[in-house]
């Protein structure tokens, strides 16, 4: 907790003195933290999360002079993030219950869960034949069309489809912990 507080506080003090680079760094760090905070409160991928993140960044900007550099920055930020969340919930007339003791979520927040999931996918893909892996990555992860991939690889469209289908089935079996083909 301390290193985060120390770093953010230093960036904030530099930003208040007019340092644009520190401010950019601070805002992007703060953005990531409040995004994780709101995701946890409202469920991941909620449509309003990014709106709230932006509103909070705006609030941090317009009210930045209310930060007292003798006091913890994370407490200041948490109070703003919580206020914006309550305001949002009130506006959407949702049930209102925002914990007051969840400051640590803001301090420890990162996207390690999502990162972990990405690592798992890469690991699983690594076990597939190279061509199949390439097809799956192009179509399922990068979102290209079967036709594009077919044209790029020289394989027919149906061959691409079949390879992807088989590859995914294999992955599904692996994930269930059943390695036998």
């Amino acid at each position: 907790m301390q290193p985060v507080e120390e770093r953010l506080r230093r960036l904030m003090i530099e930003a208040l003195a007019g340092d644009e680079k520190s401010y950019r760094q601070l805002l992007s760090d703060v953005g990531d933290r409040v995004r994780a905070y709101y995701s946890r409160r409202m469920g991941p991928g909620h449509a309003s999360t990014e709106d709230l993140v932006q509103e909070t960044l705006l609030a941090v900007h317009t009210r930045r002079f209310t930060y007292d550099s003798d006091r913890p920055f994370t407490a200041w930020l948490h109070a703003i993030a919580r206020y914006k969340l309550i305001d949002h919930l009130r506006a959407s007339r949702a049930h209102l219950s925002v914990p007051i003791d969840d400051m640590n979520d803001l301090i420890s927040a990162d996207d390690s869960e999502a990162t972990g999931a990405r690592h798992d996918v890469e690991k699983l893909l690594g076990d597939l034949p190279e061509q199949t892996r390439g097809f799956i990555r192009a179509v399922k992860i990068d979102g290209r069309s079967i036709a594009e991939v077919s044209a790029a690889s020289g394989a027919s469209e149906s061959a691409v489809k079949v390879a992807i289908h088989r590859g995914l089935k294999l992955l599904a079996r692996r994930m269930k912990g059943n390695d036998a083909p």
Binding site: G18, L27, Q54, T66, W76
Partner: protein, 216 residues
């Protein structure tokens, strides 16, 4: 819709140093301007200073009136300064202080009533000016209330209702303090009830206004 990186870019580009001590300067300006207007208004209403001011200086009720209003004014101002910042809270000791002042004043009033013949109750409670005292305090509080709310609107209170109530208490108690220079009532029950009412109404008005005006 703007993306978040674009937003950050637009906020950071051309960043200027934040003015130092802005919170205190802005609050001081708003409240100070209100106090000046209130004193001007008190003069305009021809309230003037109480005629017995020189002799009153030596009497305890004179000082008790200033202590009662002054301490509540102080509590209101401290709360305003705290609640102007997002993480600011009204501490338990401050609540205790406010309750303590009210209890002490009630005790003084009770003691005075207990030691007086029933025939004097009306004079002790209603004085000569009960009908106008609270109204004058409320009127006098308006400029301070307006100035303080104006200043508070550029702050970041996360408890708008409470912040509004603090603004109202600071305004009401300041107005009562100023009014005490003109008012020659000295009975404790009178001060408790009518000064109390004169301060309570602006506090409630402040809380109501804060709920709507201090959102950001």
């Amino acid at each position: 819709m703007t993306t978040t990186p674009d937003l950050i870019d637009s906020l950071a580009t051309g960043l200027k140093p934040a003015p130092r001590g802005f919170v205190s300067r802005r609050l001081g300006l708003g409240i100070g301007a209100g106090v000046v207007l209130t004193i001007a208004a008190a003069t305009l209403f021809a309230l003037g200073l109480r005629p017995d001011l020189p002799t009153a200086f030596t009497s305890p009720p004179f000082w008790i009136k200033f202590a009662f209003t002054g301490l509540l004014m102080l509590a209101g101002l401290v709360a305003v300064w705290r609640l102007a910042r997002p993480e600011g809270k009204v501490s338990r000791s401050m609540w205790a202080g406010i309750v303590g002042v009210l209890l002490a004043m009630s005790a003084l009033a009770a003691v005075q009533l207990a030691n007086a013949p029933v025939a004097d109750y009306r004079a002790l409670i209603m004085g000569k000016t009960a009908a106008i005292c609270p109204w004058l305090i409320m009127l006098l509080s308006l400029p301070i209330l307006a100035g303080a709310l104006w200043a508070m609107r550029s702050m970041a209170p996360t408890h708008p209702t409470l912040a509004g109530a603090s603004v109202g208490l600071a305004a009401g108690a300041s107005a009562a303090f100023i009014y005490a220079f003109s008012c020659d009532e000295s009975a404790m029950p009178f001060v408790l009830i009518w000064y109390g009412l004169g301060m309570a109404v602006p506090t409630l008005v402040g809380a109501l206004l804060g709920r709507y005006l201090l959102r950001w």
